[in-house]
């Protein structure tokens, strides 16, 4: 078959802390005959934060992305012409929820379009079909086509499939999907040859931004999941969401210190696992960027991971003086607003 093209919404995380997710997604797309066409000049979906402050504005900025996607579809032989793929679960949820509510709530749709008009845009609800990357890989590509690509089965690697909340719920998905105990990721990993643990916390919550709001609460949520994976002797937690990855990976150390525990469970993206199974080299999949070292685990399947790029990365000076690499707040905001004026 010819390439299947999808509009692609990377989202802010994939530009920065989750670049590995983006890299690996692109790396596996080719072999599977998929092409992801990034939509033009997209903006942040607002995560769970924007809607906490402004309802209409939050739907408006999300709708702006839908409008962008609808404007230029990647032109496609298949019906998936207006499929918009989001790898980030939060982006996926916001985009599909906005479309759904605009479809079912005429008043909202009207107001959102009034706002869009101010920016010279408009969006007809339902003209874009929002999908999560996992959904596409499971339902459009499927296990058999994936198997064909597997050159390095993940034999003997115990993986805990972790779906998180936002793609499992709240019933926005159009494909067969169980909000409580899904199995699509389990099956996908199984067909890569991995040893999939029946992870009871697979759809439980990583805490989102809770670490920023109530440390104790946030760390507790992270602890539950990491402990759960450890109790099930998982070598790796496999995730489909940058927020989950950030919490479980970047905060694992802090969590350990908080609870005086010593968990060490690396957290990788399912696209990275696919890349590995397809025989890609670890670096090209962004492996090594995780804070909880995945090398010991990956050694089990004979994957050599280059040592983390100490040399490059942040400039040396920063690492000499012990001060923390934090931006200066007030200046920064001022700067931001100043630059903003055209």
């Amino acid at each position: 078959m010819t390439d299947t093209r999808y509009s692609y919404f990377p989202g802010c995380s994939l530009e920065r802390n989750a670049e590995a997710y983006h890299k690996s997604s692109m790396a596996i797309a080719g072999p599977l005959g998929l092409e992801f066409v990034e939509i033009e000049d997209w903006n942040c979906c607002g995560a769970t934060e924007y809607i906490s402050l402004h309802m209409l504005a939050s739907y408006a900025i999300i709708a702006r992305n839908l409008a962008q996607a609808a404007r230029h579809s990647p032109g496609n032989s298949q019906a998936s012409a207006h499929d918009l793929v989001a790898p980030c679960s939060a982006c996926y949820l916001n985009l599909s929820k906005c479309d759904k509510y605009m479809r079912t709530d005429a008043d909202l749709a009207e107001k959102v379009n009034l706002a869009l008009a101010a920016g010279g845009l408009s969006y007809k609800p339902g003209s874009v079909h929002v999908r999560h990357l996992l959904d596409v890989l499971v339902n459009d590509v499927g296990c058999s086509k994936m198997k064909a690509q597997v050159t390095r089965p993940l034999k003997g690697l115990r993986v805990a499939p972790y779906y998180g909340c936002l793609i499992s719920r709240p019933g926005l998905r159009t494909d067969e999907h169980d909000p409580e105990y899904p199995t699509s990721l389990d099956d996908l990993l199984a067909c890569l040859g991995a040893e999939v643990v029946d992870f009871p916390l697979k759809t439980h919550c990583c805490g989102g931004h809770m670490t920023q709001i109530s440390e104790g609460t946030g760390f507790e949520l992270i602890r539950r999941l990491v402990k759960g994976a450890a109790d099930y002797h998982a070598d790796v937690i496999v995730t489909v969401c940058p927020m989950c990855q950030l919490n479980l990976d970047a905060f694992q150390g802090a969590m350990n210190r908080y609870f005086k525990t010593a968990y060490h469970v690396p957290v990788l993206y399912f696209t990275q696992m696919m890349g590995l199974a397809f025989g890609r080299d670890a670096a090209s999949l962004g492996i090594g960027a995780e804070l909880v070292d995945a090398r010991p685990a990956l050694a089990k399947i004979g994957v050599e991971v280059p040592p983390p790029p100490e040399a490059e990365g942040a400039p040396k000076r920063k690492r000499d003086d012990k001060s923390l690499p934090m931006p200066k707040m007030p200046k920064h905001e001022a700067a931001a607003t100043r630059e903003a004026k055209p």
């Binding site: 169980d178 409580e180 105990y181 029946d198 009871p200 916390l201 539950r224 402990k227 759960g228 109790d231």
Partner: protein, 668 residues
């Protein structure tokens, strides 16, 4: 049209207390009808037309004002048509010269605007008046009632119904799908609220049903086809081959003992126990004869074994036995087909099927049953460990829009019973997790009080999830029930050894097909619909078909038994009349007009239409005609007329509801 001048119409508009008058200006409507509608001699309104006063009003006017037609505008004809026809008859007016207009169900209850409601009421009444002018006097059709009765379903409701009728001297065909009578009740150990042993009270009834001279027992059988109507149904029943000659079988059980093939019993043991390939569901089975489960029998699968045959002392095994189709004629039918248990796997967060020690209510019934797989020992799935703590989860699959919206009615009492049995057998600490405790029937709340005294713990909150993922110390190796204790307003995680899901009741998976066979329909939830929810709970829209027990909605044993008896009483009533009068709504051919084109001949599913080759005309047999009127509207020559729904009547009604002035009013 000369009739138009003759007809003297009386119009009666009912307030129905305030049910109608609250939204319809009844006085105004009556006054308007008297002044504007043709042939109306008198038009009155009355608080309750269906009251004796209201009826006498009609009778009086018929006698004194010489009315020849009557129209009552009130509730639905399905409620009170018979009432007012009676009134007309008492006053010497043929009951079919009466017509009823529904201004409650179709007007006052569905329209909020008084003006609009009043106009619609007028329109409908105007239709009724114009129609009634064309009504013809008719005589009801009498049909004999075959005193034999078919009862479908051998659970407690069906058994009760069958016994009541058989004792009254009529013959009953009792059809049961499973190899034995007993239904769900046979699976229980104790019954609430008295806690008497289920078998002890059920077995005698099963026995007398099985040995009653007036009951033909057809177990391991299913109804295939039903023809005919009240008084005279013809029913085809498939009796599946037992592969056992019952005339020879003594029920000694040797075959069962010797059969080498063990299979999990998903039906009677709810998947918790085993049976052989040749089996009786349980020792007290009625009838006592076993059946061979062909799918699992080694002989039928591999062609060798025949152990049962070898060891049968009377040579009763018959591998060649075939299914039998039995045809019976009955006058009435009682459906008591019961319920299916909600499949708890549909609630993944409760872990049933994934977590070994989560049980369903039916599993626990077997677990606690003295004749069950553990001999009544309450133990974990490993078969030995006695639980120290048990959680009972109410409303599993009920009162939940994700599964079934309705309350399954039995779960509260069932759960209280479970709590008692667990406490009694294990001394474990027992929790009940509930939304509301509903113990409203006689002696039920006393039972609840008694259970509280026993020290059972009650947590008000719908269980959120059951997990084996330990989070806190003390949770390792346990099932953790996570719930909000709504009376404390705090989230709690309660570690237990065993969880029992009080799964709800659902309509039988094949209820819809069964309904179709018998010409009755199912509610949105899938239960069979009764004729009237309060006043006619065991009859259906189809004459001669009655329903009893859980097939009509979730029910406990006392309720199911009462309905069984009630349905039986309704049937006996009909039988003792010997005859029933049917609506004289029939089609007839005017031989003069009939061109013999035979278009109508293919129209009748009841074969009431015959073509008389000699006279080259079509004739309709009134005994077979059911009065649907399809042929009437098919006849190109207009040679067929349908009594009580003639073209004249309907055309007139159309004109009536469309009086132009009304339309303008509606627009205004």
């Amino acid at each position: 049209m000369k009739r138009l001048d003759e007809a003297r119409v009386g119009v009666y508009v009912c307030h129905c207390g305030s049910n109608i008058s609250a939204t319809v200006d009844v006085e105004n409507v009556a006054k308007w009808a008297g002044e504007n509608l043709p042939n109306v001699i008198c038009a009155r309104d009355n608080k309750f037309m269906c009251s004796s006063l209201g009826q006498e009003l009609i009778e009086k006017d018929i006698k004194e004002q010489g009315l020849t037609r009557v129209v009552v505008a009130a509730c639905s004809p399905h409620l009170h048509e018979a009432t007012f026809r009676g009134a007309c008859q008492r006053a010497g007016l043929n009951p079919y010269l009466f017509d009823m207009v529904s201004i409650r169900e179709q007007v006052s209850w569905v329209i909020s605007d008084r003006a609009i409601a009043t106009e619609k009421a007028k329109a409908l009444i105007s239709g009724g008046v114009r129609r009634v002018i064309h009504n013809e006097p008719l005589e009801p059709i009498l049909v004999d009632i075959n005193p034999n009765v078919l009862v479908v379903g051998g659970g407690i409701a069906g058994i009760q119904a069958a016994l009541e009728i058989a004792d009254s001297g009529s013959h009953v065909y009792l059809v049961e799908r499973e190899p034995s009578l007993g239904g769900h009740m046979a699976q229980f150990d104790k019954t609430f609220p008295t806690l008497d042993c289920s078998a002890c009270i059920l077995t005698p009834k099963m026995y007398s049903a099985g040995n009653h001279k007036n009951i033909t027992l057809l177990t391991y059988s299913e109804v295939e086809k039903v023809d005919g109507f009240i008084g005279n149904f013809t029913v085809k029943i498939r009796q599946r081959a037992r592969k056992v000659k019952i005339e020879l079988c003594t029920g000694c059980g040797a075959c069962e003992e010797k059969c080498p093939k063990k299979v999990v019993d998903d039906v009677f043991e709810a998947g918790l126990g085993f049976r052989k390939a040749i089996y009786r569901p349980f020792p007290q089975a009625v009838p006592k004869y076993p059946v061979i489960d062909v799918e699992n029998c080694t002989f039928f699968q591999r062609g060798t074994c025949k152990a049962c045959e070898k060891f049968c002392p009377t040579g009763a095994i018959d591998f060649k036995q075939e299914d039998e189709i039995i045809t019976v004629n009955v006058g009435n039918v009682i459906l008591a087909t019961g319920f299916d248990l909600f499949d708890s796997r549909r609630i993944p967060q409760y872990g049933y099927g994934r977590l070994a020690n989560v049980f369903t209510s039916l599993e626990f019934e077997r677990l606690s049953n003295a004749a069950g797989p553990t001999g009544g020992k309450v133990v974990l799935r490993d078969g030995v460990t006695v639980p120290q703590s048990v959680a009972i989860v109410h409303c599993a699959g009920s009162r939940d829009r994700n599964y079934n919206k309705y309350c399954s009615a039995i779960c509260c009492m069932q759960s209280l019973k479970f709590a008692h049995l667990v406490k009694e057998r294990t001394g474990a600490r027992v929790y009940n997790f509930y939304i509301d405790i509903r113990t409203s029937a006689k002696a039920y709340d006393e039972f609840y009080q008694h259970i509280i005294e026993e020290g059972i713990l009650f947590v008000r909150g719908k269980v959120a999830e059951v997990t084996d993922a330990a989070r806190l110390s003390g949770e390792e190796g346990k099932l953790i029930v996570q719930v909000e204790d709504t009376l404390v307003g705090k989230q709690r995680r309660i570690p237990v050894d065993m969880v029992i899901l009080s799964a709800g009741l659902e309509p039988r998976h094949d209820a819809k097909e069964v309904g179709k066979k018998f010409g009755i329909s199912c509610s949105m939830d899938g239960w069979f619909i009764e004729r009237h929810p309060k006043l006619d709970p065991v009859a259906t829209m189809t004459d001669g078909i009655f329903i009893a027990g859980a097939c009509q909605g979730p029910k406990d044993i006392p309720a199911a038994v009462s309905q069984g008896a009630a349905a039986a009483a309704r049937v006996q009533g009909l039988i003792s009349q010997r005859q029933i009068s049917l609506e004289p709504v029939r089609a007839s051919v005017d031989a003069e007009k009939c061109s013999g084109c035979r278009i109508c001949n293919t129209m009748c599913p009841f074969n009431a239409i015959a073509f008389l080759a000699d006279r080259q005309v079509t004739e309709i047999n009134p005994a077979l005609c059911q009065g649907c009127g399809t042929c009437v509207s098919a006849c190109p020559a207009g040679a067929i007329t349908g009594t009580h729904f003639s073209n004249e009547q309907i055309m007139a009604q159309i004109e009536g509801v469309l009086m132009l002035d009304l339309r303008q009013m509606a627009m205004a």
